[in-house]
């Protein structure tokens, strides 16, 4: 595992300043959102279907520029960054998509290794790590299976393994436990917490699972009518406390 460095905490922050988003000429989906995710924070994002959770996540993993405002990642405003530097920032972000987005022509092993290949790593450097990670999520015997032969839960675990294999500075997960049994859900949450605790990875989990949210002592951001509010209904202040979710782990 990578050792914690002081500079990680200096730069590893996510900041949204007055961010709004609209697609083409439609109404704004997100309006004037201010958000700061401190280094090492662990947060939930919730809200009704269509509230804009996926759009907010897209802003966070730099798939979509805001219509207004500024998204800063790891201390760097992204609106004027050259494309290569945006790519470099994306390599520090792991994403678990709700619909998994596994590549159908690749095996489970190859799907998990994909971000490492993108980073230019040689297979001899990552083979053992990928195999161990897949074994850890219970897929050690299914390395060479294509996604179409895996169950929904197995595909989800492959997607999670792909998101964390690079030990990202920011992990964004959209309904990461939606297709797995409670034991596996707890195991996966433990993986997220390990990353958060050991590497200082900022974790943002979008979920409808109120049970999961209630079990864990972590800030909850709710999207409603295009605004980001706290569960209490207040607008999110510019800075949040750092939490230690592991204290609340079952």
């Amino acid at each position: 595992m990578t050792q914690l460095r002081p500079d990680m905490f200096e730069e590893a922050a996510v900041r949204l300043d007055g961010v709004s988003l609209r697609y083409d000429s439609s109404e704004e989906i997100l309006s004037g959102i201010d958000l700061v995710l401190k280094p090492g924070s662990f947060s939930f994002l919730t809200g009704a279907s269509g509230a804009g959770k996926s759009s907010l996540l897209k802003l966070l993993y730099l798939a979509q520029p805001p219509s207004r405002g500024e998204v800063s990642l790891f201390g760097r405003p992204t609106s004027r960054l050259p494309r290569d530097q945006l790519s470099a920032l994306r390599r520090r972000v792991g994403v678990v998509f709700q619909e998994f987005r596994l590549l159908g022509h690749l095996t489970a092993y190859e799907n998990v290794a994909l971000p490492l290949r993108v980073m230019g790593r040689k297979e001899s450097q990552y083979r053992r790590d990928v195999e161990e990670l897949l074994a850890w999520v219970g897929l050690g015997e299914r390395l060479n299976k294509r996604p179409e032969t895996l169950s929904g839960g197995e595909q989800q675990r492959v997607a999670i393994a792909r998101a964390v294999v690079t030990q990202p500075n920011l992990l964004i997960a959209d309904e990461p436990t939606g297709n797995v049994d409670p034991d596996m859900a707890a195991r996966l949450m433990r993986l997220f917490f390990e990353l958060n605790k050991r590497l200082g990875t900022i974790v943002v989990i979008a979920t409808h699972d109120l049970g999961l949210i209630r079990q864990i002592d972590a800030p909850v951001y709710r999207l409603a009518d295009g605004l980001l509010v706290q569960e209490s209904g207040e607008k999110i202040p510019a800075a949040r406390r750092r939490t230690d979710p592991l204290k609340a782990m079952p």
Binding site: R83, R92, L106, P115, M119, E123, E131, N144
Partner: protein, 290 residues
Amino acid sequence: MKARESSLLPLEDAREAALFFVVGALCFLAALAALSAKSTYGAARAWTAEVEGEFTVSLSGADATAADAAARLLSQVEGVREARAFSDAEINALLEPNFGQSGLPADLPVPRLIAVTGEADADDLGPRLSKTLHEAGYQAAVDAHAEWAGDVRRMLSVSRLVALSIVALLSATAIAVIAFATHAALLARRDIVDVLHIAGARDRFIAGLFERRFWLLGLRAGTVGALVALASVAVLIAAGRSGAERTGLLPQLSLDFWDLAVLVVTPVIAGLAARIAASITVMRSLKSVM
């Protein structure tokens, strides 16, 4: 336990098989048009070079003896390589298509003909031949082949330009088809591009995947097209040789080094065109996203 790594793009699908056929067919047509253009140009150059130094002298009211004397006189003119009077048999052979094999009426005044071959660098040879004969008292007309060969040469030049235009048009069409197909392939694989993009792949990395795929496709399709063109030309050459006696007016077909160079270059151009088109299409498409 681990299988070998796969390409980040899926194996070729039906769309690429169709594209392979289209690119191969376009390369076949382009190679054939290029070979035709080159063959036409070569034939025109060889033929005009052959006739440009040729003159036909017709003597009115002269018999065979006078024609032989005139031929000897002309052979002494500076710049003349050879001057030879046509025999009766040769003149009859020339007139046979119009008068048949029964020969000419004895009382028909037929001019005697002298074939003159000049040196390639001889200037104003036609007027000097005419002057020499008139000074010697002959009633003669000198026909310089170069005058009408020039018309033929101009026509062949136009034919060559048309053939080159066809080559250019076919090449441009191939590039446009490849660009269109690349764009379609990109749209069909948007999911892969998105995943790679979000995983932090640089634009050049993603474009490189498509460039390699389409470079190989263009190269392979172009090779097939060029080989089919080579086979077609070989068949034409064989057919031309088997009927050589009756195809004398057609340009002599053959394959030389430059023809083979055209066939070798065709797939390389197709591959490069595919690669460049893929690169431009993918980079432009990626620029439209963050």
